[in-house]
Assembly symmetry: D2
Homo-oligomer: 305 residues x 4
Amino acid sequence: MNELLRTDLALEEKESFEGDGGEISGVKLTENEKDDINGRVTVVDIFNKKGAKSMNKPVGKYITLESDYMGVDDSEYIEKLQKELADIIGELIGNMKKGISVLVVGLGNRDVTSDSLGPRTTEKVHITRHLEESESNVSGIIPGVMAFTGIESAQIVKGVIDEIKPNLVIAIDALAARSVLRLGKTIQLTNTGIQPGSGVGNHRNSLTEASLGVPVIAIGVPTVVTAAALVYDTSEAFIEALKSSAYSSTIGESVEKLSNAQRYELIRDIIEPKLGPMFVTPKDIDEKIRVLSEIVSGGINIALA
Amino acid sequence: MNELLRTDLALEEKESFEGDGGEISGVKLTENEKDDINGRVTVVDIFNKKGAKSMNKPVGKYITLESDYMGVDDSEYIEKLQKELADIIGELIGNMKKGISVLVVGLGNRDVTSDSLGPRTTEKVHITRHLEESESNVSGIIPGVMAFTGIESAQIVKGVIDEIKPNLVIAIDALAARSVLRLGKTIQLTNTGIQPGSGVGNHRNSLTEASLGVPVIAIGVPTVVTAAALVYDTSEAFIEALKSSAYSSTIGESVEKLSNAQRYELIRDIIEPKLGPMFVTPKDIDEKIRVLSEIVSGGINIALA
Amino acid sequence: MNELLRTDLALEEKESFEGDGGEISGVKLTENEKDDINGRVTVVDIFNKKGAKSMNKPVGKYITLESDYMGVDDSEYIEKLQKELADIIGELIGNMKKGISVLVVGLGNRDVTSDSLGPRTTEKVHITRHLEESESNVSGIIPGVMAFTGIESAQIVKGVIDEIKPNLVIAIDALAARSVLRLGKTIQLTNTGIQPGSGVGNHRNSLTEASLGVPVIAIGVPTVVTAAALVYDTSEAFIEALKSSAYSSTIGESVEKLSNAQRYELIRDIIEPKLGPMFVTPKDIDEKIRVLSEIVSGGINIALA
Amino acid sequence: MNELLRTDLALEEKESFEGDGGEISGVKLTENEKDDINGRVTVVDIFNKKGAKSMNKPVGKYITLESDYMGVDDSEYIEKLQKELADIIGELIGNMKKGISVLVVGLGNRDVTSDSLGPRTTEKVHITRHLEESESNVSGIIPGVMAFTGIESAQIVKGVIDEIKPNLVIAIDALAARSVLRLGKTIQLTNTGIQPGSGVGNHRNSLTEASLGVPVIAIGVPTVVTAAALVYDTSEAFIEALKSSAYSSTIGESVEKLSNAQRYELIRDIIEPKLGPMFVTPKDIDEKIRVLSEIVSGGINIALA
């Protein structure tokens, strides 16, 4: 898979198989409509190596909370989403819940609006590890990006974990999606942690149970698509439009005969030398990040209280 | 011209005519290579109504300082650019220079990295209006965006001008370019002020001598292209690649037969319903804004000292 | 009255008369215990010129909401205080309430924690003036301090008012108290606006109905005491301690014989050349400002919804 | 020594002995007037246990750079101070200089202006550890305060050191001074690291070679005095004034007869129950921190280039 066209969302990866009937060996999909939030909870369960290989993601659970209304500044609705999220977190934590110590990690760059979800969420999490009278034990860290620290976020987190030995890590990150339509409208939770090369800017190292020695729940929200993905997306629509339009009936058909691999290659040849790494992001990204950090921190606070 | 494909840069507007020979009645172009900065200063002089109509921009001077190296954090090079910029500002101010009072206006949204050039530059300008012993008289204001104030920036600026009656306004703004290649590498200065619909987000109202009663120099740096412009740009390259590639020799030719108007329509049909307002911005936009705000504020400080 | 020992709180001014029996001609005091917030609402009503002269404050209503628990991050309690505050604002607005347009002004310096209450509160106010479908009409402005703008806050506000012509101004400001014990635990509301020389740093100009042509409600919270006030306060305690202690029974008595005027003079002689303008502020001022800005913005949002 | 009256400055500790002739066994003092900066460099060398005990500070070098003009925004003067500072850092690093890897640690709370020197300085340090082509190896971390992380800064730093194993730590911190006159006008550098209980807010844990396994240079600037220290300071002046003034010739003399211990006790009895932890800070602390972070980061950047 061309790296410029990657997605951090298991759901999008799954959808890319839908032309093939949608059934993938080793992967189970469960959808639940949630009428009270006008949304949906989808569980993508990758349960063996074959599934992992097909999906290009490790074995584990990927739970997605979706709603078109997400990101709108409506305090009642935000509260509903927080509760839904808390339920999902509770499910992922499972029976380890009572009395565990949790380190919340806010990944990303506070100074780039679209990459600031992790830091801004972590700032709003109720930190209790230092309070003697507290029943919960929550700590938090914002490691910062390599341009400012010179150190991989993963190394900073590893060092802190070795010092304070939490039972669980919850890592929050802004993600790159394939489709512009998902930006700010989807929250993905997974018990597989953060994979190398994920996240906005594609610069994260691994934060997983294997690398850290502690279970890692990753919570991510797509806030950008790469420019290449946007062009690829729209080129599809472009071809479709050419095919069906009055402009030219033959062009689209010819392009359609290209295999997916040929199309990828074509787009990459066009995009890569021209653009360098570019992000596409909604105009009101600051407002969206503000609301989403409230939703995610609220969900965590309810789940860990 | 489709609004989604607009550019705030007179230079880009000029370039779009280049297929037609490049000569436009009422517009004069002067280019100066600047070897010491490995760059170029270009003056687009729109000197009559015919030129204004062709260029879709008011009569006046548009001076562009370009360099591929711009935005790199190199203090010696930054200093050179500041001096070059100060010269251009001095030229635009002309013989009004001695003892004038200047209001610097930082337009845009401090909380959206790509739109924060105006506020961040204004913060670094030497403010002297309140200092009794100072020879210069520089004041500054960051009006904020409508989502936070409920008021047009232009109204706030107008109100302040009526109170303090400066001799000159310098307005700084992040711009939208047509080409991704210009992002962060071009500074445009003009004595025509800010036009309605310019700027990142396309939400500024007019800040001109006609609307404010004071001459207005606008300084802008392109920090985003709209997603539509990106797709349009790449669709051109897409067609070119199709034409010349082994994939299909006939497609490109067919698309090429579409008129420009037909192509615009096609792109718009694809993009508009799908995307809503989206920005494309470089991954390292925070670093670029930091350096560019230093360059622009430094240029202003030298010019007004 | 020595300027270094000033207070922005009418309540403290009133208390300074308490040794004289507490009755001041032209001033009426009403206290209401509020058991649900473990606090108190006090109305100081200065109703004629004589009262104004005694109190060194203009004729008008000064309503104070006090509670020792204020500033603690407890969302249920914060909500109670917001409602209480909304009631007081509603009372001050009176029968002008329906459909009025309100300009909220956040005074002070965002970069000095103790002086950032105004800006931080205004950021959290629901701005609706630009929304067509909204029933309320609320705009907001953060004028910034003179060191960054070169312009008096009052001039910027005046300019904006002349442009948008609101029916009411609500100005929020951090105040200087006399007593350290009040810091962050008192909210003062008044229909007399902001007086020259009030506020943290003692640098505000007048924002009153007389100066702006619009009624002005000022909401303030004491966040600093001047160093001089602290020393004066403690010198009183010092003398008291000297008098009553085993250390020395005669000293205190001797100092006690000094008149108030003599004591002021003495303190000023010691403090002024030595200190320059110094602020005393609680160690956890960032947390306090965060909570207080939530309380005040919440109160305004409820009152204006 | 009463904790409320502590100072983080070795120089102030030394000065408190001056009534006793100024000579302390185990401590050597060297002063150098620096005419080009209108300032002074003082080396307090504590060279044995006896000196350490007298000074209440560990054996090591404490170098102080002082100037009344420090903190003023004058770029030429700032450059001179940066070079002076770089020389002192070079001296403290000594012969380990070539090719060493350095971790810069910014202690303190970014959200409290007077405590933000460490974070703001570290942000301006040239980070090179991640750059392959760089000759230097500088990394940086801003651990944040316990209220936001739930973790001791010292633990976070320890964890990171265990991961990246630097040769040297440079820790930057805002300090508490005894005298208001020193605020923002003194930079202290020491090869003994950070002691428990030092810093603004008195909440740092130990960052020393013993605790971290790596040499630690600490750079600190006093930005606050505790309210208790201020009152103590002024009470001295108070007594002095009483003694010498026309008001009363006998009071001061009586108080003067109290021993230092008695006076401390007296002040503490007055201050402690009344105030809680309070900071005294200059009104223009934001400007001072901005300039001082430029001076300190500049000095580090020159020394490590």
